[in-house]
Structure formats: structure tokens, C-alpha cells
Amino acid sequence: MRITLNDEPVEADEGSSISSVLALRGIPLENSAVERNGEIVERDRLGDAVQDGDRIIIVRFVGGG
């Protein structure tokens, strides 16, 4: 199944959780936030399975004024 991660197409196995998709890409979850199809995914829901076509956005803090 195909999802997008920060607009990049990513193949994910059936039943993969959001956190496992992120872990596969080496993305640490600390100080980050995840959106799925425009909705914020609370930390305790990161184990939910991704669905075909999901648009996942992950953000974190950078330097800024």
C-alpha cells in the first residue's frame, strides 16, 4: 500500500503503524508532531495502522525568530 510521508511516496506494509513507518525512516518521535490527513495524531494514537492513501506529515522544531 502506498502512503505519503511529507509529500514523498512511501510503500508501507498492510497493518503498519504510523510509528513503525516513521521508525523505518529513522525519524525520532521526540519533540515532533504528526498529522494524518490534516488531523493531528495524538502521541497515544501513533500505534494506529496507516491506511492506503494516508498523507502523513511530521514536523519538528528548528531555529527561528
Binding site: 515532533s32 514536523v59 522544531f61 528548528v62 525568530g65
Partner: protein, 264 residues
């Protein structure tokens, strides 16, 4: 001047006390270590950060591991937002990412001067306050807008000194003076201050604080410049509290006029 600090002159924002009146941005530093040292040298109690998409080719965190949230308040901004909805989205993501519920509201739809959109800023402020955020809005130096943002419940007013990152100095002083005169929340001059003397000028006039990023981050020695800005802010504040004696167009002798040596 005594070395001991007078805690009655703390900066108080939304009930929280800060010993420093210098807020520091964390963008554009040559490396995180220099940024951390500059934060220390500035003595700041509030540092701003931005929120961006994780770079999938370089996913490691290079920012928060260098900040010590026990020593200063971390204030995410909504930079990049072009309207109120985008600003609210960024603020909610920042809260989800770090648990931060103070937000520096920036809505800058226009890329050349990054001037804040007053209508969208006010709209976003209302939405964010409704969602439980403590809102510190970057704004035009517009006294009427300042009043509207304060009425909406903003915790500070943050008028620009000059466009972001320009280091052109305190170009908005006459309008900021009106904002200071009217405001009952702290006024923080944000953006465009390029030198400690610019920060001093704002503080001498009665600004409650200043926010500086670029001028420190891109200085030849950012740590030394952070220290210099801290001094400028402190000098300006002390001068404001001391009360300036006013100006005169004609010379006013500071030495006695009678009893001249020449005898006439």
C-alpha cells in the same frame, strides 16, 4: 549601580516573571553550539523556535537537544503561516510536539518584507486564545491594531522595529511610542533591531522588552554580540527608569554662569 538585581523590575508576561528583558530568536546561527552559548551570554528567559517539516534525508533533531527548557521558556512561532488558519495549524502542531501553549503569532503572507497581515493576525489571535494559547503577536506598529489585539486578550504586543532580518533599527519609534502609552500589556519591539543601540533606544523610550535574532546570529561573534545586546537592553531600561531630563534647542550651561574667572 548595585550588582544585586531588583526583582521588582522583572518582565511579567501573562503572570510569568522573567529577569531579562531580551528575548532571543534561534534562527541563522552558524551551529547549535554557538546558539546555545549565545543564549547563555544573552541572559534571556525566552527563546523562540520555528516548526518545520522533518527533512526525510536528515531526520535527526539538531535543535531541541541544545535547548534547556528548564532555564528559559521556549516560545514556538507560527512563521511561514500566510493566514489565520495556517497559524492555528502550526500553533496546534507546536503544542502537540512540545506541549508548549505560549505561541509567537506571525502571519506574513508577503515574501519581500515579511510584514504581518493585521487582519489575519487579529483573526488568528482570537482563534488561538479561544483554543487556550497564550498569544504574543508580531504586528505592525499600529496603535489601533495594538488596542484590538490587547482587547482580544493577547499577552503582549510585539510591533516591528523594521522588517524582519533587516537590521535597519528602530524605524517605527513614533508609532511604538503611542502603543506603549496606551498598552497595559508588555510591549516587545520585535524584528529589525540591528545593534545594541537600537535596543537601547527602544528600551529608553519605555518598551518592556525587545526580541532579537538575526543581528546576534549573523554577527562575527554571536556570543559577544548577545552579551552586547544584553548590555544595551539593560542600559536602556535603566535610563528609562531613571527618567530622561528632556531636550532643549538652545545650549543650557552645565557649569555655573556667575563668577567667571574673566571677572566681567
Amino acid at each position: 549601580m548595585q550588582e544585586s538585581r531588583d526583582s521588582t523590575d522583572d518582565l511579567v508576561i501573562a503572570g510569568r516573571r522573567f529577569t531579562s528583558r531580551l528575548l532571543l530568536g534561534t534562527g541563522k546561527f552558524p551551529n547549535p553550539r554557538t546558539m546555545a552559548s549565545a543564549i547563555d551570554a544573552s541572559g534571556t528567559g525566552i527563546v523562540t523556535v520555528a516548526l518545520r517539516r522533518v527533512d526525510l534525508d536528515d531526520p535527526a533533531d539538531s535543535m531541541m537537544s541544545h535547548l534547556d527548557a528548564s532555564r528559559y521558556l521556549i516560545l514556538p512561532n507560527t512563521s511561514g503561516a500566510r493566514d489565520a488558519e495556517e497559524a492555528v495549524r502550526v500553533a496546534k502542531l507546536a503544542r502537540a510536539a512540545g506541549g508548549f501553549d505560549w505561541i509567537k503569532l506571525e502571519v506574513t503572507p508577503e515574501p519581500n518584507y515579511l510584514l504581518p497581515d493585521p487582519v489575519e493576525t487579529l483573526r488568528a489571535a482570537v482563534m488561538l486564545i479561544d483554543a487556550g494559547f497564550t498569544v504574543l503577536p508580531y504586528m505592525n506598529a499600529d496603535p489601533i491594531l495594538a488596542r484590538r489585539l490587547e482587547e482580544a486578550g493577547c499577552a503582549t504586543l510585539m510591533p516591528l522595529g523594521a522588517p524582519i532580518g533587516t537590521s535597519r533599527g528602530f524605524k517605527t519609534r513614533d508609532l511604538v511610542a503611542i502603543i506603549i502609552e496606551q498598552a497595559s500589556v508588555p510591549v516587545v519591539v520585535d524584528a529589525g533591531l540591528g545593534l545594541p543601540s537600537h535596543a537601547s533606544a527602544a528600551m529608553e523610550m519605555g518598551a518592556d522588552a525587545v526580541l532579537v535574532n538575526t543581528a546576534i546570529a549573523i554577527a562575527g561573534d554571536p556570543v559577544a554580540m548577545a552579551h552586547a545586546f544584553a548590555g544595551g537592553v539593560r542600559a536602556g531600561r535603566e535610563a528609562f527608569l531613571a527618567g530622561a531630563g528632556g531636550t532643549s534647542s538652545l545650549a543650557q550651561a552645565s557649569s555655573p554662569l556667575g563668577g567667571q574667572v574673566r571677572g566681567d
